[in-house]
Subunit: 177 residues, 2 copies
């Protein structure tokens, strides 16, 4: 680069590179200030036409809805182990283009996962649960005609180190840089 | 929070909160090391089943394909002003669920926008261009049966300060935290 990245830039680039999915958590809770900081990161994601269609529901450990969520995914053990679950929906009335709104939801979820990582917490993006959204939403007392389910983010203090691999950059480039 | 966020955490949270779309750029180029760092951030995004369906094409200022891109969007002035354009596609053969793959693309694009911001560069997510992907892909010599167009990220040295607003967190929460 023309100049070496600043220490602050290195810190952000490291977070982007080093965040990993964390699926096992300690019994400790996650406090409300941390949850608010995570949600605030999601709030600042970009969206098409700045429509910000995302809506959030936070379910903490012990809330009866934790079990409702667990009963709608094959990742029930992760849901039951999490200190908090951030359910991410789209407000259908705020959507303008499904493909672009789904991309925006992905940016929003990623901002929250990065905030989780930055705060020294662990989290994982649970997408499989949306396969059962037709049953999940009424079970949560929510209206499937008003909301579309995007994901549930399980959050807690990490009880494992994450590990994952990625394809080489070369294999992702349609032509060499 | 149980403890105040560390200085490193504050740096990452600030990047998540302070990144803005930048649509006007100086004539300076963006060097290849910076482009590689941006693409590498995208590479580390999460995806469903870790399928990593994203593929990238980089078009630098002066490449004849810059004008091809400009001719397929109403944001031609932004495309023409950018030092580089990162075209983001999905490899249809690597996809497993359109909604989840589109979300993953959003996470990948957001990682790249955050890297752009961290490096002191400016960038903007151009999504409108996908409305004309049926014509765009053949014009770029790419096969619409193999690739789905996700977005173009315009990148350059910023010639403006970004500015944007967001809804309050309260208005995004289905129930109070």
């Amino acid at each position: 680069m023309n100049a070496s990245p600043s220490p602050e830039a290195q810190t952000v680039l490291a977070a982007l590179r080093e965040r990993r999915s964390i699926r096992r958590f300690t019994p400790e809770p996650v406090d409300d200030d941390a949850l608010a900081a995570i949600l605030d990161a999601g709030r600042w994601a970009p969206s098409g036409l700045n429509n910000q269609p995302w809506r959030f529901l936070v379910v903490r450990r012990g809330d009866p809805r934790q079990e409702v969520l667990a009963n709608h995914t094959k990742y029930a053990h992760i849901v039951r182990g999490a200190a908090a679950l951030i359910c991410v929906f789209l407000d259908r009335a705020a959507m303008y283009n499904p493909r672009k709104d789904h991309q925006g939801a992905g940016a929003c979820i990623q901002n929250m996962l990065l905030a989780v990582h930055a705060l020294g917490l662990g989290g994982v993006w649970l997408g499989e649960i949306i396969n059962r959204e037709a049953e999940l939403l009424p079970a949560l007392g929510l209206d499937p005609e008003a909301l579309e389910t995007m994901a549930v983010i399980a959050v807690g203090r990490p009880a494992q180190h994450g590990s994952s691999q990625r394809k080489s950059l070369e294999s992702l480039l349609l032509e060499p840089l």
